[in-house]
Symmetry: D2
Subunit: 342 residues, 4 copies
């Protein structure tokens, strides 16, 4: 049985495990004040070429989204997201739990369309009665999106311009950021992301770590007493080293990009296999998640040998399923998939 | 430099690191549905001799407290805690953040006094106007307490009786439970805890794990759709294996109790060292945290060689400081402490 | 200057003012425990022919929505509403503030379409991964809707069937319920509403009262300790008499229906005036709110003599505006409008 | 039967009823934008001699407390209150419901002791570990207190000094402010209150209105988009006139002070009656609430003729009960009380 179920089916990249083992006996201070957290922060700032950035580590993506949104919005504000955004659909209402509304926009291939955003905000402020409405205070987008798609630099800059014209914060959820940056279709670097966005995070959990997301505040905009706000949300890790050591490893010798690049390489090979056998793609994804249309009988047969994820019912006879690659995907896995496809 | 700063200064117990390394390449399902989580649940149920218990894993103590309290209280209810309880003082208002009041009781040595609790609840219901007040719906206690002290079985049963008489849930925060159970003064076993309490957690973070707390619902009282409630609070780990593997290791061959017992042994030796040199204890603690009174000059000198925690100012010339042992404390550490004390 | 700006531009119906004045010196107990609240409850139960109904009074509509939704949803649940629903758009995020997600459905003329609802819920439960999503726990609808439109009995029953099949609560926001029940197009009585819905409220603020909404729980489903839950949300009035006396007056001698019927009569006459002069309606509304398309120049001229509400920009040259009638609308007002329209 | 049960047993002062009746047919804009709200704001600013004050109207005391505290605290902060403060005990956890902790201080006669406050804050900042604790961001006090007692100007200034030294907001709950200002023991005017406090409210509900509290922000510190924040909390009244007209009446010809002064006069006479007959007071209250110790048998007898409130059990044979005066208390009421006391 070979698995493409998700990009978090295996443990951590061996280099991360090695660092955790080597530092295991060191006595370190808690709550993210240790030297590895410090070193990881420094390396991330350097990788972003943003020397004033504030970098903080959180355990997971939903937690990062909830903490960032809740601490950066003003009382009268909500966060704009695509209707298919992770915060809109798959976080069990975590953003609303913090008291904040997600203002859902129609999407195209999982992406917010700059013009749709511009129209929404313009309409909002055109209507004199907006004191009874939630003010748009932030734009949330995921890059890659939940459909594996990417924003172009031009799109991201157009969205940022709109945000800044209206005093909104641009927040990029980078749970799978590595796969976006190393995609063959990417026209952005990590520095571009850091320059354009007001806050974003570099996903660890889905890019080789056991857990962890590195939040980057790029504009001297880290909320005051952020550690207390994190604690208040039950999100402060006592052994903060667990996050610091992992990100220190990920940002040493480009490991983060190597992991991501490997997964992209595997995904491209996987695409060729599917295409070669005449399978249709539900969406054109340039990253590590591929959405393939299967006939239902085909799907049932394939399940015996290959693990993958249900995505959605397409029609009575077809289903969309997801195949994901990661640091742990091997050529042998691809050969097994190819064989199983018959 | 030797450190007794806390029980979370080192990484994980080597046996845990070994299990994480050995299972690292296995493909496992996410969100706590993997086989190691399953195995850990089974072993914990067996250790508690509570075969119907529901066991769920959360990342940290404040998170566990916030999730448990918020999902188990009814709308009109709050949680009773000692004025010195962790939820009362040192969680940055995490319980209130979820919308629930902490009803603080005066304490004795960090413990809720059963008679004080009984009086509080009786008074509450004696007053006909309680519809404008927060109903006491749960009792939170930590065992060991924040002062390292322990409830006796008789005390815990008296508190439980009071809870059940008034329909309240008894919740025990066991962030350091192992040290309580292996203390020389303990008259309770894990089975007693599971029998008496309605819900409790077995702390991992402070007892040898990298992170993780195992929440045990003992009375078929796990909130419905608990996974969704956990996700809603940003507390669901994608790689749930990280918690399952660690607790599976901790509950194999009594590792949890061995770790705890070692720390207690080291703490007892440390007490002898302090006592032998004439130091006063601020409180009589039978567990792994020791609270020692130092003259301020003495304290400054000692800081050069030994790391410990500030606890509180006693008077102008004296300070209470905390020395904690853990799985990583060695005899060599104790000798270094002894030497440094002069 | 004549005003059709809203249905809350005037004070209370004179009969209500009379009752407030007559009872003003009576000593009454607070918090909704007085005899007028009791009498109003009894009369509302009788009017609904639902003798077991629990009736509670709240001050305003957003408050009623927020309290009802927050106290009736389970932790994993959210509330379904039309994308144009009051809770979705015009309550400044009050539902999300209580921690609950509004699940927005596409609408037709402001109404939830029964088949769209059925499809949404069926899809939700078809998807095996719904533990990461907000469960649909309640359907919120307004009747009349924000566009003045009405559900038919058949539609409401279809929605109720769907709710009950999946264990969802059906909640009807009746801020303008009287106008719905007395509309010429209504095929439902108050008894039908009470029989079909699980909870609803009878709006006072917009139907002749100074303030106040009467919440009716029809299925022995009033949340336990509801008074405490109301207090906890800052929504409990000390002089509860203010609400009780008003609703007692409204449900004496059918005043509620007389007020509503008068406004409908005035609205129908107003429609004739607009139609007679060739104005277009943006939507076909059978209740007291009429949405008329005006050329922008026309609109500016009309503003000098008549007050009305901006609704939305239709195109560059046309605007949709709202004219509302109420208990205080007179034939003289209509003549003034007619004259102003030229 | 004569009633001293509370200061909200009767309707509104006749002058308020008269104003409501006289303005009833006027067409006014909603949500607090009408001319009576404007006029009331202006009169309150003048009465406070604080021409830049922002004045906003809310419906009730708990609502005012919850809205003010939630909109003025920063994320890491909580509000300090006396252990007997209204927000601490009798608001069903309304402050915690908004996510904010009430930091309870020991009290003396219902009052925060300036030195105790100073010590608390100094201790907080002395402890280097306060990042895990809720920061004291505001001091809440009620004047008169829940025990009818008053702060002296010196005490209030000492508290204010402490607040401002540490960047905390001083918030005074004036639900019964009129009775405080007209007490024979008061050494403060409304101008003093406005000068010393950062925000406070002038209670209407308990001082002659049907409902309503006038919140006064004295230091250009009204939260931005406050109307939206009020709406978000379900606290915005559609017919805002109801509050504006009442406060306009209360601040015309000193009505607010006349009402208060009358109640104080009645309370002083009542005190003489009790004292003359040898009854003991539980506390020395200089305002409109009197706390009298009754033997339980005496209490049962008195209940037949006089309504009063249970306060607390003193011992097995004695109970503390409360007698309150208000605008509606008459000399005849006092004679009836005297007669009933025998």
């Amino acid at each position: 049985m070979v698995s493409f179920e998700s990009d978090y089916i295996a443990g951590a990249h061996p280099q991360i495990m090695k660092c955790l083992a080597e530092t295991n006996l060191e006595c370190l201070s808690g709550y993210g004040t240790d030297k590895y957290c410090g070193s990881a922060r420094e390396k991330i700032r350097a990788a972003c070429r943003c020397e004033n950035a504030d970098v903080e580590f959180l355990v997971g993506g939903t937690q990062a989204n909830a903490v960032i949104i809740a601490t950066m919005l003003r009382d009268c504000e909500g966060v704009i997201a695509a209707k298919t955004g992770h915060v809109s659909v798959h976080e069990a209402g975590a953003i609303e739990y913090t008291g904040n509304k997600v203002l859902e926009l129609p999407e195209r291939n999982g992406k917010i369309v700059p013009d749709v955003l511009a129209g929404y905000v313009a309409d909002f402020y055109a209507d004199g009665n907006h004191e009874h409405m939630v003010f748009p205070g932030m734009v949330y987008l995921s890059h890659p999106t939940e459909y594996g798609t990417l924003y172009t630099k031009q799109e991201l800059e157009a969205i940022a311009d709109n945000c800044h014209r209206y005093g909104m914060t641009l927040f990029l959820d980078g749970a799978r950021l590595g796969y976006g940056l190393t995609s063959r279709e990417s026209d952005m670097t990590l520095c571009d992301i850091a320059r354009i966005c007001d806050v974003f995070y570099i996903g660890g959990t889905k890019v080789g770590a056991l857990c962890g997301e590195a939040v980057v505040f790029t504009k001297n905009n880290k909320p005051k007493h952020f550690m207390t706000s994190v604690k208040k949300r039950g999100a402060l890790l006592a052994k903060g080293r667990l996050l610091g050591i992992q990100f220190d490893a990920l940002f040493t010798d480009d490991l983060y990009f190597k992991i991501s690049g490997h997964a992209i390489e595997m995904a491209e090979r996987m695409k060729e296999i599917f295409a070669g056998k005449g399978y249709a793609f539900h969406i054109e994804s340039p990253t590590n998640q591929q959405f393939v249309v299967l006939e239902n009988e085909q799907m049932e047969r394939l399940k015996r040998d290959v693990a993958f994820s249900f995505w959605e019912n397409l029609d009575e006879k077809h289903t969309v399923v997801r195949f994901a690659t990661s640091w742990s995907t091997t050529e042998e896995d691809l050969r097994a998939l190819e064989a199983a496809l018959g």
